[in-house]
Point group: C2
Chain length 407, copies 2
């Protein structure tokens, strides 16, 4: 399985090994490496400990064609990555004039003179290293030759790391990337039982990944043989039906925005228990203003009546969490601005507010369309407040998607 | 710094090293270990590779008092953790009758006889290991004696792992947890330069953690000596002033909800570029309905006029992204429901929509209070769409906080 060149990823920071912060860089870099054709042999987090990092880098750089380190390139005393790499590879550090100048230009931001002097540490470059100029932030990345290949040092903040990672991996021939089918409204086992027979005759490997709000069916070319991947993906999609919402990595919100754009629909939402998450997911998509009117977060009942014209008697009679209120909220959202399709959420996210008849996790959704068709959907979600809100948000987006597919 | 016993955490799964899934167990276990008084020397993810895991476990168990492995305890062929641990420690595997019986009782769930046979692998226990009976799921955990202390094997699914981790760490004396001062509106370097002299005389260690929207100042008791931690935290807070919004782990939104509750304020928001994120952050706090009325996501200008009574001529004359529109939006939100304090956001999140006069990253905020005081604040944020939205959301929450502090 390891005909591929091997790579290792190291993230540096005591905040990671003490659990104060969860790392996101490691898995992002591992994925980029896998797509660039490396077998990632290890992914590790180490504390800000010079000797430990030096020793790990000495071992890893002798074993792997590519070692990527993120973090510890900042200006403060616990930023020890440059020093550790220098010792591990026996390459002395020297200050780079270009970087010094760039830093001086940025130093005005800091009011403390001591902070300015400290910034200068970021200009220390290993002998023989190629620089990756900072795109965001101040710390440049470095590509250093090693006995087995290269060591790449990248800054820790994800927005600073990302552009330099792309630059470092530029020009490497990508292996066949896997096909990722994202699905909603289906369990992991059911997805497996539908897909497995459909692709049995194909030379592909299957992995399933489940999160609380979706299931991903991932197909890999076996032994680098790419020709079966396309037909297998088509067969799997057919087997998954409308549960599958994307085959190109698009998120559920991106799929909704794309479908709305193609059918000239304009969307609005009226949220209670999701509290802004549906609007936030849609507006997270660049260009969503083409199809998204806006929304109302009607947390208090006064907002439901005041902004969405939900009759107070209706709420009093059926309750805020009911099919009637859900539909009235969605219809109310249709009256504001120029929306042609709206979704509403009203439910009990917890931890308080549940009853025997209306337990925590119960959520009603309303869908209203400008052609007059409306309907309500009831769901009971497990999990804590955060989980209920996440699942309700995904369901609201999925209801918009299914309504757009119906045309 | 390492008078503490050392520990290592290993998460097992090719889905982690290939970046298909992001690990959450590692940081959770690391934090529990730090709180139980261990220095976590490394946190690593390894692929489902028997030889690689065997070799890693041989090294780690000889170095560290405690090694915790999660994942790879399931029934399928790629669950190799039991076998790897057995080889690394030279302790043979034997089937445990109690576990076999428990599995047999659960096997009825699976219709395939093959699946039942495969389940039996989960009953294989290392010689001399103590069992941690499964609370959720089917795989038990194991605590195995090692030359340096113990190796603990835990299942991978977080809900199965969590109760067994608590059991494995039971009875260990917790060390003094660190004090975490969360700050906003200050750079990492400036925070360090204010705090360092203030705590110089104290026996504490200082770490700074920066994200795009806040800075965390973390103080640790040095060598387990707790008596200096309280006075050092007080001195640090004084030096940080109003930049510090929490000393007990509370998020910015939690701080706002708490301040609003104590001053009987009711909050509403009117969002354009943040698209629901401010409302989502506030409603993420359990009990936020006590102080949060709701909000309007006025993405289209028609929504700004229709729901918030922002005069169309005002938008035409000054532009949607202006101090005037920001204030009119905040004032509009004050008219709906029973809010006493409102915040608005209007800006250019990008990637499109910027101009020379109003570049991507420009955001205007409006604050309106029921006593008639209003003001507008302008900020220019760097970064991509996601970053601009995150930073604008944090700033909107911070403006609410500062307004509540003024009283």
């Amino acid at each position: 399985m390891c005909a591929l060149p091997t790579a290792a990823v190291v993230t540096v920071g005591t905040e990671l090994t003490s659990g104060l912060r969860r790392d996101t860089n490691g898995s992002e870099i591992a994925r980029a490496l896998a797509e660039a054709g490396y077998h990632v042999a290890s992914l590790s987090a180490l504390p800000d400990d010079l000797l430990a990092l030096e020793s790990a880098l000495r071992t890893l750089t002798s074993l792997h064609a590519l070692v990527i380190v993120t973090g510890g390139l900042g200006p403060t005393h616990d930023d020890i990555t440059r020093e550790a790499a220098s010792r591990a590879l026996g390459r002395p550090l020297a200050s780079d004039n270009g970087v010094v100048e760039r830093l001086a230009a940025l130093a005005g931001r800091h009011s403390e003179p001591g902070a300015r002097a400290q910034m200068a540490r970021q200009a220390d470059v290993l002998e023989g290293a190629a620089l990756l100029a900072a795109v965001a932030g101040t710390a440049p990345g470095q590509i250093v030759p090693t006995p087995a290949g290269a060591l790449v040092l990248l800054p820790g903040p994800p927005n600073e790391m990302r552009p330099l990672l792309s630059r470092a991996l530029e020009g490497r021939i990508p292996s066949t990337p896997p096909v990722r089918l994202r699905c909603i409204g289906i369990t992991e086992s059911d997805a497996q039982h539908r897909v497995q027979p459909a692709i049995a005759a194909r030379d592909v490997d299957l992995t399933l990944l489940a999160t609380p709000d979706d299931v991903e069916v991932v197909l890999f070319a076996r032994d680098g043989r790419a020709e079966d991947l396309g037909p297998a993906a088509e067969a799997a999609k057919l087997a998954l039906g409308t549960s599958c919402y994307s085959d190109d990595g698009a998120s559920l919100a991106e799929t909704v925005v794309d479908l709305a754009r193609r059918s000239n629909a304009r969307i609005a939402c009226a949220e209670s228990c999701t509290g802004g998450l549906v609007a936030a997911a849609l507006t997270d998509v660049p260009g969503s203003s083409d199809v998204f009117e806006g929304g109302v977060v009607a947390y208090a009942n006064a907002m439901k009546s005041g902004l969405l014209d939900v009759p107070e008697q209706l709420i009093a009679r059926y309750g805020a969490v009911s099919d009637r209120t859900a539909i009235a909220m969605a219809e109310g959202a249709l009256q504001v601005g120029d929306a042609t399709l709206t979704v509403s959420t009203t439910g009990i996210a917890g931890p308080a507010g549940g009853s025997e008849a209306k337990p925590v996790g119960l959520v009603w959704f309303g869908i209203a369309r400008h052609d007059g068709r409306t309907h309500a959907v009831e769901r009971r979600f497990g999990g804590d407040r955060d989980m209920v809100r996440r699942r309700a948000t995904a369901t609201a987006l999925d209801l918009l998607r299914r309504s757009l597919l119906e045309g």
